[in-house]
């Protein structure tokens, strides 16, 4: 299923209600940087703009879309935050990012990454979809990650640890440099960086350098993100678990130096 078909299917089974008087007939084609009201909402930190709910009230899938008026050069000019408002919605969004800049791209990404939404859009019965979905308990996995991270820190030599960790005061700068020095980031990486910048995770994130001795970390390149070489483990779930289980997550950036303004241009001799 392509993006357009996915959007049609979502529009078929979900209804959108505007939460602000001036936004008439809202749709899922909104992009935060071209959002008509972004200048109007500049003074407001965050505003609920759309309520999305399943057309079948029995399924009780409800979530809200907020517009957050923050800016970060090279990454976003305002962004959308998704907040689940019912149990079934919370199950749908459990393993995906809850922040985005482009709603069509986002809904397609959720469709691809949320098994529950995929099954629901075919069966149109959320209870049946929940039963069919692989609901194995992953909380134990996150507890184990926390334990591994903390036992690794405990075993580290203090000086080596200090040499590995980057100053958290400058997390925004590290993300900015990663965007500026590297080739264009994939949508999933952009979404991940957006999450890293949000205040929700800022206390649970610590950047480390490439030469770091720490082995339990989230690797971020321009094209991919994964934890400990495991591409199956969902990084957005790990971020959420870092907040709920209160642990520090290490993040390592890979610089490819393929960004910049002169890429592809001929270089002149001195």
């Amino acid at each position: 299923m392509d993006k357009k078909e996915c959007l049609n299917l979502i529009n078929q089974h979900f209804e959108l209600q505007s939460c602000i008087a001036s936004l008439k007939n809202p749709d899922l084609k909104l992009k935060s940087h071209t959002f008509f009201y972004n200048n109007l909402f500049k003074a407001v930190k965050e505003i609920k703009i759309i309520r999305v709910k399943s057309k079948n009230p029995k399924d009780d899938i409800k979530f809200d879309i907020y517009y957050v008026s923050d800016e970060f050069e090279g990454l976003y000019h305002g962004y959308f935050r998704i907040k689940d408002e019912s149990d079934s919605a919370s199950r749908i969004f459990k393993t995906v990012s809850k922040m985005c800049t482009d709603l069509i791209e986002y809904m397609y990404y959720v469709y691809q990454n949320s098994e529950l939404l995929k099954i629901y859009l075919i069966s149109l019965d959320i209870q049946n979809a929940i039963e069919q979905c692989n609901t194995k308990d992953v909380d134990g996995v996150f507890e184990k990650i926390k334990k591994n991270i903390y036992s690794e820190i405990a075993e580290c030599d203090q000086t080596e640890l200090e040499c590995s960790i980057l100053d958290r005061w400058f997390n925004r700068k590290y993300i900015y440099n990663f965007i500026m020095f590297n080739s264009k980031c994939s949508e999933i990486v952009k979404m991940f960086l957006l999450n890293l910048l949000s205040p929700k995770y800022s206390n649970n994130i610590c950047m480390i350098n490439q030469n770091s001795i720490i082995k339990n970390y989230i690797y971020v390149s321009s094209s991919s993100i994964y934890f400990n070489g495991n591409h199956e483990l969902n990084v957005f779930s790990i971020l959420d678990s870092a907040v709920s289980l209160e642990f520090i997550l290490f993040v390592k950036f890979d610089f490819n130096f393929e960004g910049g303004v002169n890429i592809g241009k001929t270089v002149d001799k001195r």
Binding site: E73, D167, N209, F257, G259, V261, N262, I263, V267
Partner: protein
């Protein structure tokens, strides 16, 4: 007290293969304890054929190169002065030239308009200061700069004070100035 270098000036820093080719390159600047502005320093190791291996770009995220001949140390000397040190062993076979540059980070909350940057080269074996270089960078209009280069000339290592400010990013600036290829 070493010599005070000015833009365009060149200085002999050591003989090639001398036993005293261990240096400390110290770059200092003030940032008034703000996190809305910062300077990141980079040392790029150039090979003979004017190529730079990306793994040989030393900065906060890659604190040492493959043969460990260059190490980066970041520290604060007091609340406002920021000091970045590169420990360099020029006897490494892989070094043909070193390009020393910096990139400027400024958030939209940045109130600073310029930065005073000082570079010092200290001979670690002899514990002597070889030279000092001071430059001012307009951080409103620039995004990067090249401080200088260390290069081989006949049987000596020389330093060339370039002092070039650029509105472009650092790697594009280095590519344009030195005609190097990154791989």
């Amino acid at each position: 007290m070493g010599k005070q270098l000015i833009k365009g000036e060149k200085i002999d820093i050591s003989k090639i293969n001398s036993s005293s080719n261990k240096f400390e390159l110290v770059i200092t600047y003030k940032n008034n304890n703000e996190n809305s502005y910062d300077i990141d320093t980079f040392v790029c190791v150039c090979e003979n054929n004017n190529r730079i291996n990306k793994k040989e770009i030393i900065f906060y995220n890659n604190v040492e190169n493959t043969d460990k001949s260059i190490c980066f140390v970041d520290c604060f000397t007091d609340n406002t002065e920021n000091k970045k040190t590169f420990q360099i062993n020029l006897n490494s076979a892989n070094i043909s030239k070193l390009i020393i540059g910096y990139s400027i980070y400024k958030s939209n909350l940045c109130k600073q308009s310029s930065a005073d940057i000082t570079l010092k080269l200290i001979n670690r074996t002899l514990q002597t200061e070889v030279f000092t270089m001071s430059m001012q960078s307009d951080i409103i209009n620039n995004n990067a700069g090249v401080v200088g280069e260390v290069y081989k000339y006949k049987d000596v290592w020389k330093f060339n004070a370039i002092e070039y400010n650029s509105p472009n990013d650092l790697m594009s600036t280095i590519k344009t100035l030195f005609n190097v290829i990154l791989y």
